[in-house]
């Protein structure tokens, strides 16, 4: 049997596309490295037990600002990293896609905001994104959010208070978790969020729109097949250069699928890793290059109030006033691009582990700081990042448990990211000071790996075209955050999903044109 499409990976890049292709009547199968969880019985409210949701195959991490993986970034299991994303779903703004036009550095996207806009709309309505209508930033929307915003937790209230004092506008954020129960054809009823605050360790009741409770059931409704615990290792190509077989390992045994088309949706590390392992789609030499990671500095403070930072959607409040801070505040900045501000709640082990790494506290000092856990609240940024030649992924000589080379990832912030972070550090400290914080401390970090197989018009400088199709291999598409030409100043998940639907539609149109 030959499948019309094999989709590799079931996260934000794979699942929406899988559903679209299945709905069009194609014979499709998704291969997923991880398990197909049953959240109600498999998910405990315990961070340690839930580390099964993270991509824990070891990655080597290098550079001045070496990236953390595991609980930071990729996920494993049907649903991919959406199993442990915070469900924060702001849209990119139109100028995010035109960094080079605006600042003469970085890269423009080969598509416009107007290409994404209808898909943003569709994804938000399908997932049941909860958010304010109207939304204060970006172009006027054709439709409001599907549901009203989720309740704001204490960290969010404190951010609102601090920002009000400083004249920074805030709003309840858009989150892909349900503020009321929601029904979708092909999916059924999903219940409202119960404010567990455990989004980053797995949602128990299906309120959070991870792919396993949204696009995957939709895809299965339309006949898609899901094969969990299948790790893809090789592609076989026919005489014309097209991929004709996908080879994967299940239960230690090699199996293969015959296919007409392949959609690689394994995320910005495993996607280029698989291409590099197979030595394909890389005539540009750009596979694994242009790796970007969002600036994501966190500022934590302690408050007199009982915060209980584990309660409620973690990212409850947003401000995009810092999207282009010079325009908003009339004070020139020394960096390009911009960032958003976000209030953050946190689970205890995550917080205390960061405290250990970030402040190096131990002994009595650690115990004292840990005792304040119920009184901490945070703010963080999520900001753009430029592509640099010094940031990339390569295959190392060290082998993993499957006998495949471990990826080595280089990341160092450039001057631009350092300046942006310094700007944000100052603003966030002012907000927390105005809100009455004590013992304020900063945890420097970068989040989300982006851009390792970027899209563009020129086959010499990009890996896929504007439709997501590989320049080198006509039946290979990539749909995940690796194709982003720039990092955007927002969390990537919503844009990955929107782009996935667009890629599916472009593919279906080209198939129809062949008929």
């Amino acid at each position: 049997m030959t499948y019309d499409a094999v989709v590799i990976g079931t996260g934000a890049g794979g699942a929406p596309l899988l559903a679209r292709l299945a709905k069009a009547g194609l014979r499709v199968v998704a291969l997923e490295a991880g398990k197909f969880w049953k959240p109600a019985q498999d998910f405990a409210t315990d961070e340690r037990a839930q580390d099964k949701l993270f991509w824990n195959d070891e990655r080597l991490t290098a550079g001045n600002d070496a990236l953390a993986f595991g609980n930071n970034n990729s996920g494993t299991g049907v649903g991919g990293s959406t199993l442990h994303y915070t469900a924060y779903t702001p849209r990119a703004q139109p100028d995010d896609l035109r960094i080079r036009s605006e600042f003469d550095v970085g890269e423009d996207w080969p598509i416009d905001f107007t290409d994404l806009e209808p898909y943003y709309d569709e994804v938000e309505q399908f997932l049941g994104v909860s958010g304010p209508s109207p939304y204060p930033w970006g172009p006027v929307r054709k439709r409001g959010y599907a549901l009203g915003p989720l309740p704001v937790n204490k960290a969010g209230r404190l951010m609102e208070q601090g920002c009000r004092t400083l004249g920074i506008r805030t709003s309840p954020a858009a989150n892909a978790a349900l503020s009321a129960s929601y029904y979708q054809d092909g999916v059924g009823h999903r219940p409202a969020c119960i404010n567990r605050g455990f989004c980053q360790a797995g949602c128990r009741n299906g309120a959070k729109a991870s792919m396993d409770v949204t696009y995957i059931p939709l895809a299965m409704h339309y006949g898609a097949e899901i094969r969990p615990e299948c790790f893809v290792t090789q592609f076989r190509r026919d005489a014309s250069g097209k991929i004709s077989e996908v080879i994967y390992v299940r239960n230690g045994q090699e199996e293969r699928l015959h296919c007409k088309n392949v959609f690689l949706c394994a995320g910005a590390i495993e996607t280029p890793r698989l291409l590099l392992l197979n030595g394909i789609a890389n005539s540009s030499g750009q596979v694994g290059r242009n790796l970007m990671a969002h600036t994501a500095l966190q500022i934590w403070g302690e408050f007199d109030d009982d915060i209980q930072p584990f309660k409620g959607i973690p990212g409850a409040v947003i401000s995009e006033d810092t999207h282009r801070p010079a325009q908003r505040f009339g004070v020139p900045t020394d960096f390009v691009g911009g960032y958003l501000l976000q209030s953050i709640g946190v689970m205890p082990v995550t917080y205390l582990s960061q405290l250990a790494r970030g402040r190096g506290l131990w002994g009595a000092d650690l115990k004292r700081a840990a005792a304040a856990y119920n009184h901490v609240a945070g703010i963080n940024i999520l900001g753009d990042c430029l592509p640099y030649a010094h940031n990339y992924i390569e295959l190392s000589d060290e082998k993993d448990s499957r006998g495949l080379p471990k990826p080595r990832v280089y990341f160092s912030n450039g001057e631009n990211e350092e300046r942006m972070t310094a700007h944000a550090d100052q603003i966030m400290r002012q907000i927390w000071e105005a809100a009455g914080a004590r013992n304020v401390w900063a945890f420097p970090r970068n989040a989300h790996v982006i851009g390792t197989c970027r899209m563009g018009h020129d086959p010499d400088t990009s890996v896929v075209n504007a439709d997501g199709r590989a320049h080198d291999i006509p039946n290979l598409y990539i749909s995940d955050n690796s194709t982003f030409p720039s990092a955007l100043s927002v969390n990537p998940a919503l844009t990955i999903m929107a782009l996935a639907l667009r890629t599916a539609d472009k593919f279906l149109m080209s198939e129809r044109a062949k008929e």
Partner: protein
């Protein structure tokens, strides 16, 4: 302090949560399978300084070192490793040796034989890269210390008794939370 055992028996805790927390609460202290007896005693002594548990009876002490031994025995990863560090198993063996050598070079005794003040000064020097160089030629001392501390903290604060110590009750969320 929260009475964790009582809460775990209530319907405020879901069955999967009760299962993992009860298992962790009742786990026996581990006999090392990866570390030698000497290495394990040294690791225990270090963990006792990083996260003191002097106020707990022996039976109630969280087995931080046992958790590290268990992970290394299974060769499990948390998904990443600093490129400048050797594989985790090697790093722990080299790092423990480095801490002991630092103790010998500065105080003329192995780490476990030092006073707690002396132990703390050895650990501070390791963390701040002020240890004698000869003990740390194959391993960056500050990175090792960061990894060890982070793992010790994650092991400790994953334990229900440590969570009770900081009044964390987030696991009792079967009915969700009102905001």
């Amino acid at each position: 302090m929260t009475d964790i055992r009582a809460i775990l028996q209530t319907d405020l805790v879901t069955e999967p949560t009760r299962h993992v927390l009860t298992e962790r609460l009742n786990a026996p202290r581990r006999q090392p399978a990866f570390f030698t007896a000497d290495e394990f005693a040294l690791l225990r002594a270090i963990c006792d300084r990083l996260i003191p548990q002097d106020d707990r009876s022996d039976a109630e002490r969280v087995d931080i070192a046992g958790g590290i031994d268990e992970r290394l025995t299974e060769n499990k990863s948390n998904g990443w490793r600093y490129d400048e560090m050797p594989p985790d198993r090697d790093a722990y063996q080299l790092g423990l040796r480095g801490i002991n050598q630092s103790a010998e070079l500065v105080f003329g005794k192995p780490f476990v034989a030092l006073s707690t003040e002396q132990q703390d000064s050895v650990l501070k020097a390791v963390q701040a890269l002020d240890s004698p160089d000869s003990a740390w030629q194959t391993l960056p001392a500050d990175r090792f210390f960061e990894e060890l501390l982070a793992e010790a903290v994650e092991n400790y604060y994953s334990h229900p008794l440590a969570q009770a110590e900081i009044d964390y009750v987030g696991f009792a969320d079967a009915k969700g939370w009102e905001l």
